[in-house]
Amino acid sequence: MIPVRRIRLSAALAIAVAHPLFGQQFRVELDSRFQSVAYRGWQADSILAAQAVTSAYGGPATPDGFALRCFPGAQYCYYFRPGKPLRAHPWTTSARGSVWGLGVGGLSFHAASLAAFDPGSGESWPGSTPALRLVEGYARLAAGNWDFRAGRQYVASRFGLRGLDGIRAGLEVSRLGLELTGYGGWILARGSSLPVLSPALNPLNEFRPRRRQLLGGIQLGLRQGALVLRGTYEREFDPGPRYLAGERVGLDLWAALPGDFRFSFGADYDLGMGWWGSAEARLSFAPEDWLIADLGARRYRPYFELWSVWPAFTPVPYNALSGNLSVSLGRFISVRAGGEVYRYAPTGAASPLLVETSDRGWRGSLGAGYRDRRLAASANYFLELGPGAGAGGVEGKVSYHSGSDFTLSLYGSYLRRPLELRFNESALGILEAAVEYRPSDRVELGLELGRYAEDRDRPDAAAVSWDQLRLATRVTIVLRGGARGSGLPAAVLRMPRGPSGR
């Protein structure tokens, strides 16, 4: 058994009594957040098919009015009753730190960890288990044109932010505009800082591999004038039977074109399945800083690792066209509009007579904003309708900044959300106030209080209303110092602390 307590005690003691080396510097950010939220789910239920009645809207229903789904010939029909209100109190504390100036030029250590739990509710808030996790922790040695990293880290590529416990080596040859990066190690699950074997990632007891997969990848970047190219190859495989878990190659391109145009393009090919994955191309036009316009085309195809059976079900891609326009009217006012239309590729699944579902959709938004030194306001209207669901509504936000230490924000929105495959059209109204206060450049406090009112409109007895108050608090403390005392570069010190700080 690992003597965790003794290790922690020793580490704390070592940190407390250690003298900083000459030039040693560090930065630690502690962030603690607490939320109190409620949500209301469903309670599955069933009745004998023989007890089903015909409802006023034509479908089968329980005698007390709940819509039923009855499978032909089945003994039972199934339905959902409104579930009990669930209240969660997720409390998370994250610590992020860097240490450098350790006597070896270019050597630094970086770590981020997260402690999370949900006291009292008995229900697990997503992401609150395990209670303690290492988000990242690696040593970095930047020596000349070389950049080495070892430990738990993330590699940014067109395949997303891939986490791995392993090593990465990068070489940059500025003279040739060349950048070469290679990496390998035990992969973390997509969208998580946990290995795929973690029970926290498998609440439904899906198929999982027996061992952690290994990931190897290489990136080659080339910059020539206004053209930037980057190719990425990645291979995931099972270390046991050497089965392939994934193999993809991707290309990304960015170019500055004459006439204030920018062009970006990216595409990937799934070598494991032998088909094209996702791709996107976008042409942007920004002749002046008051006008930004872009047109884009996008193709999206979901990616599943080969250790699951889902690739064999052959998900099809959709293709989309989109456009955005942002115009500044004078110094303070801006308006923007954007939209996207998309359509799925043929599925090859022929059952239109039984269930007709939509194969296309669109989304659009229209907004305006005002911003001066103290006041910021925005209003937005959005509407989207696609397969499975739609949504539409309005939202507005006003923020007042008192210098650099105090911000008060008010937010309100109203939206409706119809579903395609289920009777449910939610209507949600939100009123929220938020305060951020920065008593010093090392401490930041935040408080949000919101009133959520949701009505789930249905033609049956499952229609339900529920209102709630939501509370969120936040404390962020930044510690930094060292023998030279100046801390990180200003750019790093001024980094916004996550989206909520922006």
Partner: protein, 476 residues
């Protein structure tokens, strides 16, 4: 003594004394009206006798009382100022008087203090044009050659008696009003045009000192012209405003400035210390490391305010993927990886701001069609399935769910929806729900493979997956 020099000296003394009185009292003031006394005084030295000897140029108050005794004329109260007027003039009456006495010049007091053609006792401060006339300077006062200023003026740092108000009232020369003068192309050349004889033009030193230059010039220690100026904080009484060059106004500037820095570093170093780059850059680019760090003896220079580039406007977070993947090193110029983690590995319980408020309610439409690549930030099992399970949405078997109640026959015709949004399906359904019908080992043996499925390829790459449905007898 010969009469001519005496006459000239007398005239000079008179002019000097008269000038001194005028310096204290503007023409027409109640202090002393020279023109009103035109008939009384035939010479200047009658009152200003001290000019010649180098003593005070002011008249003796007793001399005034010889008339203003209360009988002949009303009494006046006047006494000479205790302190000489602050000035940066190099001019000394005594020296000019000596030149006159030596016969090197025929100057008289009125040559400097009376406008050309004006009647006797029209006394003014020294008329600059007339100074220029004697000294052979053919230009207006503020348009004189750069070397000419020092003929009559001390450098500012040596004119210790001038206070801030007086310095601030210095008239701006026409040259300074020319377009782009302050932006360096002109004023820098003017300051150094006379080198090496003059490390800095005397015209600059007349009104400015090193502190003034250091308002903008980060590279002050590297500029000999600036170092040639003496330090003097009083020079800040003249306000210097650092204006961004025209190149900085271009919409492309932010994107292109890296190349400019590499090719024209010295120009950048004029106004930018290393710190101004570090306001945005998280690490020192090569070129930036050659810029001087801010410190003693250097100007504050340009203050850079960190702000997102124009390209980041209008929902850039939703479409940054390709550009970020292609230009990772460009992003790394201003961002650290922790910035990525803030959104791509959101903290449980934190009210993230990538999605708008209330997104939980409206997320089905965005999730079905993957308006964004959800999996890039949210693990499907950890985030989606956990919540769906607790909301009671997860079925306990393939046919034991009432969720899709708007489509009674959905289970018989779900194929299209499933192939379009398989990622959404698997947030509630597990493999066994599907394999109940879609496995070759049992059930209804519906083939789940759709268009583009390459069985041979998959069998070679990962036969383990095939065995889930086909067991040991993988076809092909």
């Amino acid at each position: 003594m010969k009469p001519a020099p005496l006459l000239a000296a007398g005239a000079l003394l008179l002019a000097g004394a008269a000038g001194a009185v005028w310096l204290e009292a503007e023409p027409g003031s109640a202090e002393f009206d020279h023109e009103r006394h035109r008939e009384v005084f035939p010479t200047c030295v009658a009152c200003h006798s001290g000019v010649m000897s180098g003593e005070t140029p002011w008249p003796d108050p007793q001399g005034c009382r010889s008339c203003h005794d209360g009988v002949v004329e009303e009494e006046v109260e006047w006494s000479p100022p205790a302190v000489a007027r602050a000035s940066n003039l190099r001019f000394e009456h005594r020296r000019h008087a000596e030149l006159v006495l030596r016969g090197d010049t025929l100057a008289r007091c009125s040559d400097c203090h009376t406008p050309a053609g004006a009647p006797w006792m029209t006394v003014r401060r020294a008329v600059v044009d007339q100074c220029f006339g004697c000294h052979g300077i053919v230009a207006g006062h503020l348009e004189a050659p750069d070397t000419a200023c020092a003929v009559c003026h001390f450098p500012l740092a040596e004119a210790a008696a001038l206070d801030l108000e007086e310095i601030a009232s210095f008239e701006k020369p026409p040259s300074h009003l020319r377009n782009r003068f302050a932006r360096g192309e002109v004023h820098g050349a003017a300051a150094t045009a006379l080198a090496p004889g003059y490390p800095v033009a005397p015209s600059c030193a007349t009104c400015h000192a090193r502190d003034f230059c250091m308002v903008c010039h980060v590279d002050a220690p590297e500029q000999p012209a600036i170092q040639a100026l003496a330090p003097d904080p009083r020079s800040l009484a003249l306000r210097a405003v650092l204006e961004a060059p025209e190149s900085h106004q271009s919409p492309d500037f932010l994107a292109a400035h890296g190349g400019l820095v590499r090719s024209r570093l010295r120009e950048c170093a004029t106004c930018h210390a290393r710190e101004s780059c570090m306001e945005c850059h998280r690490a020192l680019p090569d070129a930036v490391s050659r810029l001087p760090p801010a410190g003693e003896g250097r100007g504050v220079g340009a203050k850079v305010v960190r702000r997102p580039p124009e390209t980041h406007a209008g929902g850039y977070a939703e479409r940054h993927g390709s550009a970020a993947a292609a230009r990772t090193e460009t992003c790394a110029g201003c961002h650290v990886q922790a910035d990525c983690l803030d959104c791509h590995r959101p903290v449980a319980g934190a009210a993230g701001k990538y999605h708008p408020e209330g997104f939980l309610v409206r997320h089905p439409s965005a999730a079905y069609s993957r308006a964004a690549d959800c999996v890039s930030c949210h693990n499907q099992g950890e985030f989606c399935s956990t919540c769906h399970q607790q909301a009671g949405l997860v079925p306990k078997g393939p046919f034991r769910s009432g969720y899709h109640d708007a489509k009674q026959m959905f289970v018989l015709g779900h194929g299209e929806a499933a192939r379009r949004s398989l990622e959404s399906c698997v947030t509630c359904h597990v493999e066994n729900d599907c394999l109940a019908c879609h496995s070759a080992l049992g059930g209804r043996r519906f083939n789940p493979h759709g268009p583009g499925f390459d069985a041979d390829r998959l069998r070679k790459r990962n036969p383990g997956m095939c065995t889930v449905c086909h067991g040991a007898r993988i076809p092909g």
